[in-house]
Symmetry: D2
Subunit: 93 residues, 4 copies
């Protein structure tokens, strides 16, 4: 759950921009654009996707993990482990 | 230039699948999916984008760079430098 | 602060292994090893360094961030922001 | 084979600096430095290792791969595939 609706709007705006970048890549391939130019555009889309993930993770830690810890109990430990695993997947992907 | 049309079809198929993943992410955010599930899906899309880039780079080195080197002359050095810069951007992104 | 001394021992053991890998790389370069073999060894050292970072981050969130949140107050927000920034640096490096 | 001895000196100097960074990390952990400061230092060492790899790859493509392609024959294809696999490992690590 993403929380505040302004956060949700920001996330959706980012995803729509990334979708546009992916469609731009399709046009480049269809029109036989030069490989290196396509690769430059791929790097831009990758960075945008990474920034999206970091923003989402920020919000997750700020809301869900923080609430679970503040409430205490077993839930807190589980939330922390879950977040740490998501971070590891991001760092490695 | 991507070269063989079977290569081009493969690249376009990959991009359409990534576009589908990005649209899936939008639906997840719209429907308030759990952050960690969204992040897992982001990692999948990132990996797919990375594989696309590596496939494209393979083909570029195999065709364009190879031809330039085989022909010799200054063009070869320029092509190699250009490919190395694209690799550095990929490794760092 | 790394916390438990068993954690500290584990972290130090990992770093000594990485130091050994870096010295191994120096020997390879000195003895004119084949580039591709050197690069394979670099990838291994990079992965080991990444695993070290993830382990350290785990422990940091598990101890420091968790304690700060449990205590509440402004400190908690600062710790979360600090951890999120460290995660962003890791994901981007 | 790294080729020119100035290249070799540059590579060794980079590795010795990275070894120093890893030893610095050990001192930080031994002296219970703050986790976030340790992580910042890890990011610096990771970036240095990545730059080392990119430099080595540059030199490999510039010498070995280029020579193999200029000579032609089957060797060229094998060298290109080998370099592409090394690049993929780097991008993914």
């Amino acid at each position: 759950m993403v929380g505040h609706s302004s956060h949700k709007d920001d996330l959706l705006k980012r995803l729509r921009r990334i979708e546009g970048q992916i469609r731009g890549l399709q046009r480049m391939v269809e029109q036989d654009a030069y490989c290196i130019d396509v690769l430059t555009q791929v790097s831009a889309a990758s960075s945008a996707l990474q920034s999206f993930a970091l923003r989402l993770l920020d919000q997750h830690v700020e809301c869900c993990v923080r609430d679970a810890i503040a409430e205490g109990g077993q839930e807190a430990g589980a939330k922390i482990r879950e977040a740490n695993q998501a971070i590891a997947r991001l760092v490695r992907s």
